[in-house]
Each structure stands twice: as structure tokens, then as C-alpha cells.
């Protein structure tokens, strides 16, 4: 029912069939997919009930950033099922309220200790591009990735990238990820997936993988943890079927699952426009894109691609409420005046089963906060971001940042930041990388010289440190 069988850009292949139980019922899954994806594929929307009002809840971000998909798995509550790979015979239960505690607790095994020169947390465009540089220099590096696959959000980008030849412009995002991953195979770069880095203490990173505590001792740390999608407040924003736009992308472009049949997209930035187009490619109807601002925030060319297929983009319009019993059934939008006040009588009721929010991203700075790197609130960069110098080093010595965690931008800028941070770390190690680093900084400044980057440039100045 929700399977995407044919797609203009992607080919989906499934792993071998597995079975697990959900609230006692047997559910079919494919090896390699996660619990939440398998459930959603088989038509299950509700994963938990809210603590106080017992409202049904489904998933929201689908990349392990929010807590919307938490369920009880093999007796353990609060498991982020969107990033937990399915295993044969798994027992999955809907989480009622706060979740029942385990019936018994398996004793923690002794921690495993790993020593590496460099640790990279996150394998998106920033982390992967940095790893590619470390590989060239034969540096013993470990990449820690929370999701089952490497590549971060690149793996779901089916559109061709902007930029110049150097940043692989004209190549589709997922193909860039494939190249970057292939290039570090059989090298000094090791990686562990399904692994959550949860602490940074001096030079030790605490990692949790498959019930195993791993201590990674490292000299240099590159934090490239990306960002999370923002939720905005409106009645019904927790009804299953309200997704982050990126979650819709994960469903359809990574796992070949239709997020819904008819969608209302909230937000006409690049993410909203691109994901709407990708929904059309997956055979999903997009009723409209609404945008609270008076103009479209994303690139005009992305808007034009959608308009050509007859999808309306309504500016000065916002989501008012979403209705539905167990799943989104209707969405109501309303026009806004110049002062962003609702204009009564301008409501439009949309018959949709899915609402996607593309209303901005927040840098995932949790580990940096814990590490003691100074943060600053810079709205144009998406919220709290680490202070950093030209080498992308934070106020904590030997802790570097790259990509969206340092401020919300594009994959192409993340790739260049990954280069710069890696080259700066290598320079610190005593390698002659200054020239390449300056070259990458120049390329990055070039990418940031469009009118679209004006506010980002101002924000970056605010986030500068010595």
C-alpha cells in the first residue's frame, strides 16, 4: 500500500524478509530497514500515546533527532525506533505514557576502549568530506554514526547539487554520498554505525552501540552532528501524519515508502520546495506549499519546477490547524497580513493525509554544550551555535566543527567546511596543509557570496572567536 515500486531516479532493493511482533501481531520487514520504517510500510502510524492526554503519536523526524517514535523494544522503553535496525523476532510494543520499565536488566558489559588520532562524529557531507581528507594522509580516524547508514542527509537527496564542479555540482546528492563513502573503504578510516555518541569528557567520547558502551580516546575531535527539524506550534501538530519534510524524504528516498497520498507542505524554503518536488516524483500528490513570509524563501528555480506541475505556492499563508482522529485527515491554512496576523475568513480546508513541516532547522549542538565549547544564540544560523575560529576550532582546544551543527547552510558548504576542519587538524599535527586550507576557505567564501548568504555571513561574524 505504501510501497514505492517504481521511481524516476531511484531503484529500491529489499533485504531478506524478517518478522517481528508489534503489540503481539506479526509484522513483515526487510533486513536493513529500521523498526519505525517497517511499521510505517505496513500501515502502522501510531507508535505511542502521549503522557498526559493519551494522544496518539507517530514519528516526526525519522533520523533519530526527536523523540516522537520512541517505543518499547525487547522490554526496554524509550528506544528511538526510527534508527533501530530490525532483527528477526524483535518484540516491539507501543509506548503508553512514559513507557513501562524493563522486566529485567541485562548487566552492562565492560566498556570497550578504542584509541584513535581523530574522531569524527556524524557522517553527513561535513564528516564524510573530512574523512576523505584524513584518508589521503593515512590518519587513523573513526567515524561515529547514529543512523544505520553512512551519509547523513545526503543519502536522501535525489536532486542535482548546485555549486561548482569542485563541489560536484550537477551530481545528485545520494551519488555524492556513494562516492565519498566508496573512497574511504579499505583505508585508515574506520566507522561504526548505529552508534550514539552521548558524551565528550576531556579526550574521551562515550559511545553506545548495541547495548555496548565504547570509550573512544582521541586527540582531535570533529563534531559534525548536523541539525534537527523544527516543530512549530499549532493545534494538531502531534497527530500522526505530521512529519518533518526531511522525514518524508527519508521514507520515500531511502526506504521506498510513500509518506502519504496527499500532502500539504508548510514552508517554501529550499527544503520545502525540493521535498515537494520529490514527493511528486514518488507519486504523491502535493496539494499546495504554504509560506508565512510574503515571498518564497528558497531558490526561484526550485519553485518554478513545482509550479510547472501545477502545485500552488501560497505566500502570506500559514498552517492554522490539523484535524484527524488517528491520522491527519484535514489541514486548515489561513492568510496573514503584513503584521503576520491571521485574516479571518481566509481559511482554506485541505483534504490531506499528510502535513510536512519545512520550517527551519536547529543545529544539533548537544555534544558541544557538554564538551564546554562556548555557544552563542545566532538566529540567522538557526539557534545556538558554537563559537569558532577560521580553522573551525571551537573554544575547546582540539574540538572542531563543520556543517550544519556550526550554522544551518547547504550540503555544498558543509563539504567545504569538512575540508577546512580536516586540513586545520592536519596542520596542527604538523602536515603542510596550509595552502590547501586557504584554497578551501576561498572556495567557501565564493559559495557564500550570493545574496542568499547575506544573513549567514552576518551570523558567522557573530559566531567568530579567536
Amino acid at each position: 500500500m505504501r510501497e514505492i515500486n517504481i521511481h524516476p531516479i531511484l531503484q529500491f532493493s529489499h533485504g531478506k524478509e524478517l518478522k517481528f511482533t508489534f503489540d503481539g501481531t506479526t509484522v513483515k520487514a526487510y533486513k536493513g530497514e529500521t523498526v519505525a520504517m517497517a511499521l510505517y510500510r505496513s500501515g502502522i502510524d501510531i507508535f505511542s500515546k502521549s503522557p498526559k492526554q493519551h494522544r496518539p503519536r507517530g514519528m516526526f523526524c525519522a533520523i533519530g533527532k526527536c523523540s516522537s517514535c520512541m517505543m518499547r523494544v525487547n522490554g526496554i522503553p524509550n528506544i528511538r525506533t526510527c534508527i533501530l535496525p530490525i532483527r528477526e523476532g524483535m518484540i516491539v510494543e507501543k509506548q503508553e505514557r512514559f513507557g513501562k520499565l524493563p522486566d529485567y536488566i541485562e548487566k552492562f558489559r565492560e566498556p570497550v576502549e578504542i584509541d584513535k588520532e581523530v574522531t569524527v562524529i556524524g557522517s553527513g557531507p561535513a564528516g564524510l568530506s573530512a574523512a576523505n581528507i584524513f584518508k589521503e594522509f593515512g590518519i587513523k580516524t573513526i567515524i561515529i554514526e547514529e543512523n544505520p547508514q553512512l551519509g547523513g542527509q545526503l543519502i536522501k537527496q535525489t536532486h542535482k547539487f548546485f555549486g561548482s564542479e569542485k563541489e560536484k555540482a550537477g551530481t545528485r546528492g545520494f551519488e555524492i554520498a556513494q562516492d565519498l563513502i566508496k573512497n574511504i573503504e579499505n583505508s585508515t578510516i574506520k566507522f561504526i554505525t548505529n552508534s550514539t555518541a552521548f558524551s565528550v569528557d576531556n579526550n574521551t567520547i562515550g559511545v553506545f552501540k548495541d547495548n555496548q558502551y565504547i570509550k573512544v580516546h582521541t586527540k582531535y575531535l570533529l563534531i559534525a552532528t548536523g541539525a534537527a527539524e523544527k516543530m512549530i506550534p499549532f493545534p494538531g501538530n502531534d497527530i500522526p501524519g505530521v512529519f518533518g519534510a526531511g522525514a518524508a524524504q527519508t521514507l520515500m528516498n531511502v526506504f521506498g515508502i510513500k509518506p502519504g497520498n496527499s500532502v500539504l507542505m508548510v514552508g517554501a524554503g529550499n527544503v520545502g520546495l525540493i521535498v515537494s518536488y520529490q514527493l511528486l516524483q514518488a507519486g504523491v500528490e502535493v496539494k499546495a506549499v504554504v509560506e508565512a513570509m510574503p515571498t518564497i524563501g528558497g531558490y526561484f528555480v526550485h519553485a518554478a519546477k513545482l509550479r510547472r506541475f501545477g502545485v500552488p505556492i501560497l505566500t502570506n499563508t500559514t498552517i492554522k490547524e490539523v484535524n484527524g482522529n488517528l491520522r491527519v485527515e484535514k489541514a486548515i491554512t489561513i492568510s496573514l497580513n503584513k503584521r503576520f496576523e491571521e485574516i479571518p475568513g481566509t481559511e482554506i480546508v485541505w483534504d490531506v493525509d499528510t502535513v510536512c513541516l519545512s520550517t527551519g532547522l536547529i543545529p544539533s549542538v548537544n555534544l558541544l554544550a557538554q564538551a564546554g565549547s562556548k555557544l552563542k544564540y545566532v538566529p540567522s544560523l538557526g539557534g545556538f551555535v558554537p563559537l569558532r575560529n577560521n580553522d573551525l576550532e571551537t573554544t575547546r582546544e582540539n574540538i572542531f566543527v563543520a556543517g550544519d551543527v556550526a550554522g544551518i547552510e547547504e550540503a555544498s558548504t558543509a563539504i567545504l567546511e569538512g575540508h577546512i576542519a580536516a586540513l586545520a587538524i592536519l596542520e596542527r599535527m604538523g602536515f603542510e596543509t596550509k595552502k590547501s586550507k586557504i584554497e578551501s576557505i576561498k572556495d567557501l567564501n565564493n559559495l557564500r557570496s550570493s545574496p542568499f548568504s547575506k544573513k549567514i555571513i552576518e551570523g558567522l561574524k557573530e559566531a567568530e572567536c579567536e
Partner: protein, 161 residues
């Protein structure tokens, strides 16, 4: 120019530069509808005859219609799907456009012609379907139609069925 930032489309008369009739009657040439300063230049670097120029990576591409051979390289590489080929052949209008949706119409098929808002403006015939990308079903579709004025208007197609 209409308020394209508000509505998401431009009108035919807003195209920054459109080739003169004597050129399009000779052979198809590229037309750019990339009107915003964004950091992107694969059209410039992919052009085998250097017919597209740009000031810096954020510049707006300008097609030299005298130089352009209509090879469609830029149409297939443009990440914004903002380049098209337009021409007039045997008295018929001709447009080549990138098509990334499922069910690409086949050669000889009659299709509905759509404008920049997705509205029907006529019907045409598929003259050629070309898959520049080895790994995907993303296509370049060339369509012909009787009303030559439509080369300024048609920017999408839809199956009749």
C-alpha cells in the same frame, strides 16, 4: 517582471533574453530561466563551445545564441532544471525540456503542453526522448507543436491519458 518571488513563476516576456527568430529557425538554442544570483555554474563549465557566460559563481548565466549549437548539455546538467532548448523546425515550434517524473512519454506520442503554472496551453508531439543519465530515468524530451509562439510558453508536458 512579475513578482516571481511571490508566485514562483515568470512570464514569457520576463525571460532575460530570448534568441532572435533567424537563429531559432536555423537550429534550436538554449534559453535560460535562471534569474537569481545563486552559487551554481555547471551550465558554464559543461558547455563544449563556451556559449554560456557568468560573472563569478553567483552570476546569472547568459547564453550567447550565436555560439550555442543546441547540444543540450546544459539542459541535462542544470540542477535547477532552468534551461530549455527552443527552435523552429519545418514551420513547427520545438522545445526540449528536462523531465524527471515517471512515465516519460514515448516518441510519437501526443502530449498536453503546459505553461509555467502547469496550465494547459495546447497539444504537441514527442519528437525525441533522450536519457543522458545512465543510472536514472531522468529524460530530455523534445516536443513539437504547430503554434510557434508557444516556444516561449511551453515548459512542461503531461500525458493525455
Amino acid at each position: 517582471m512579475n513578482n516571481y518571488l511571490k508566485y514562483g513563476y515568470i512570464n514569457a516576456e520576463d525571460i532575460i533574453s530570448f534568441p532572435p527568430l533567424e537563429i531559432v529557425e536555423n537550429h534550436p538554442v538554449a534559453v535560460s530561466e535562471c534569474i537569481q544570483e545563486i552559487p551554481c555554474n555547471p551550465c558554464v563549465t559543461s558547455c563544449p563551445v563556451q556559449a554560456i557566460s557568468m560573472e563569478g559563481i553567483n552570476g546569472i548565466p547568459v547564453v550567447n545564441f550565436e555560439k550555442c549549437t543546441g547540444c543540450s548539455m546544459c539542459v541535462s546538467v542544470c540542477p535547477g532544471l532552468a534551461l530549455f532548448l527552443v527552435g523552429i523546425r519545418n514551420g513547427k515550434g520545438l522545445v526540449t525540456l528536462p523531465y524527471e517524473m515517471l512515465e516519460v512519454p514515448s516518441k510519437g506520442e501526443k502530449v498536453i503542453l503546459l505553461d509555467r503554472k502547469g496550465q494547459k496551453v495546447g497539444t504537441g508531439t514527442v519528437e525525441k526522448v533522450f536519457y543522458p543519465d545512465k543510472n536514472t530515468k531522468s529524460a530530455l524530451v523534445t516536443i513539437t507543436f504547430d503554434n510557434i509562439e508557444l516556444i516561449k510558453i511551453v515548459r512542461n508536458i503531461k500525458s493525455i491519458t
